[in-house]
Subunit: 344 residues, 2 copies
């Protein structure tokens, strides 16, 4: 879909204006704002064209026009360019990260904090997942009686707790022994490939111990399959200030989204082409609750492998320029600091 330069310009100004004010924009006000020296009448003609092409709609006859989702999509694809953030802001962000990157958890919540503050929307950050394939160490800790805690440590130095109840009592000594068995195994292969046969081949186990290992392995596998990566979110109330969310039902939707961490996590982690900044506008989102929102996400990496995702949820009338710039820069920062925290 191609537009001539003037239509493009007009569309741009309309979108920018509407993003700022949330008010339908009319030909009169527009002719003042865009210095193209065109009269309102001409603009009206162009606007009529743009409406016919599906870029604009009128909330009611004889009101200004507002951009459609298609318009935002066009704007994002063809008009806007990701700007570099101002030097001052960049250094501010950088300093903030330096103060909060000694541990993984705080880094994640700080990221969410910064995101929501810089964009004035709701921020979501997905912590790195602990999965099957990069598990380098398992420590079994006796809790009480037949309850144990399994701590799984990944190659990158992340940890995940799994609490289970076993059929027999496990004391500290036994817990240590079980840990050793599993870790010995982990030297040669990955957890997901540990089968019953392999367990039975292990020499030094008593029948009771063998039985425990047989119980433990499926629990480990199962827990590592679930991608229950932690989700941090902030700035929920930021959106309350925008007029489109003065409706309590919209707010309900938003809260439902943020609370369904599982869904959110899957959605954000899903790859979509190779784009660094992914923009989903309104109904482009699969999730029913997100139909009235736009969401912009990005990912952070370690040695080229995707570790986690982060992004911003806001109205479809979102400041796509600014958010993209912010995400872009935060992405760099995260990549930088994550590689200090984790290692391959």
């Amino acid at each position: 879909m191609e537009l001539n330069a003037r239509k493009k310009k007009i569309l741009e100004v309309i979108i920018r204006d509407y993003i700022n004010t949330a008010e339908p924009v009319g030909s009169r006000t527009l002719s003042k704002r865009c210095n193209l020296g065109i009269s309102p009448a001409t603009i009206r003609n162009e606007m009529a064209d743009l409406e016919e092409l599906g870029f604009l709609v009128q909330p009611h006859t004889s009101s200004g026009r507002i951009p459609t989702q298609q318009a935002y999509r066009y704007y994002v694809d063809e008009i806007m360019e990701i700007q570099k953030l101002e030097k001052m802001i960049r250094t501010d962000i950088h300093r903030g990260f330096l103060d909060h990157t000694t541990e993984l958890g705080p880094t994640m919540s700080h990221t969410a904090q910064v995101l929501s503050q810089l964009t004035n929307y709701t921020a979501v950050v997905l912590a790195p997942r602990v999965t099957n394939f990069n598990c380098k160490h398992v420590q079994i800790v006796s809790l009480i009686k037949n309850r144990v805690l399994m701590v799984v440590v990944t190659q990158e130095g992340m940890a995940k707790n799994i609490e289970v109840t076993l059929s027999q009592e496990v004391d500290t000594i036994l817990a240590l022994k079980l840990s050793n068995v599993i870790n010995g195994f982990l030297k040669n292969t990955v957890l997901s490939e540990m089968s019953s046969d392999l367990i039975d081949q292990i020499q030094e186990l008593s029948p009771a111990e063998s039985k425990l290992i047989h119980e433990i392995i499926p629990h480990l596998k199962k827990a590592l399959m679930e991608d229950a990566s932690e989700v941090h979110s902030t700035g929920l109330t930021n959106l309350f200030n925008y007029p489109e969310f003065s409706d309590v039902n919209k707010i309900k939707q938003l809260i439902n989204i943020v609370q369904e961490k599982q869904v959110l996590s899957e959605m954000m982690a899903s790859k979509d082409g190779n784009q660094v900044i992914r923009i989903k506008i309104g109904s482009e989102n699969d999730n029913e609750n997100l139909k009235d929102f736009s969401i912009i996400t990005s990912t952070y990496e370690l040695d080229g492998e995707m570790m986690g995702a982060f992004g911003v949820i806001g109205p479809t009338r979102m400041n796509y320029d600014n958010v993209s710039s912010v995400l872009n820069y935060i992405r760099n920062e995260l990549n930088l600091h994550i590689s200090n925290l984790l290692m391959k």
Copy 2:
């Protein structure tokens, strides 16, 4: 403050009615509802008295009256009695707990779930704290380079993770040794009493190891001091349906409360007399954000010692009867199931 029987009855009916309908209640409708065979005129006189005594207010001249906070307080103290829940509901709850009490985390979130569902308000549950005094085992797990995870296990079989960065690299072997040293120490005394002098007396340590122990202990102490007990909350959106929360600002307040977990946790854990069910109405709450809400809390115990708290946040026009009954029963259930999960 004493009221004669009739005034008391009238006040009761007004409160009950207002709790149900959120509408100011007038003398006419009242005379029908309360079968005391009194005419509206008489009721009007009584109501005027009750207003003078501070139990009722009129939103505007010539409308019905609504109860004041003082009225709710009187109702809670002098009128209402905690009912036993219906048999059917009791068994329902009990069954539900049986299905969700194999682990501590799920038990907590299930409790929150049940609470919010039974009351239709917002539920909050505080998981047991892991503190200094009942720590029986510490397991140090090497994460990567100089980063380690310390798992603290309590007498009761709860665990807490503490992630720290140390000055030297710690491998699996060293982590084990450090764990042993600390656990050896724990046999005789509690963590909070471990001093520099005592560490230096330990024989088997190399200077490097000694240095690490010197670093680790303060981290442990500090982490166990913070009472960052986990907070589970559910049913945030339940309150949205009540007319008093159709205002976005009220909702903002609520979200702020629930998000400030630290504050919430302190508030709920604070003892207040020896009451089993604690009721705070509107401005009886210290927290500014809670001034428009009522909160009813209770605690669960293990061997007579308080483990955690749970409760419900709702409008001051809260169904105090029902919520109290529910909390009362849930408290018993929790005490029962917690003692299966944890042990002294």
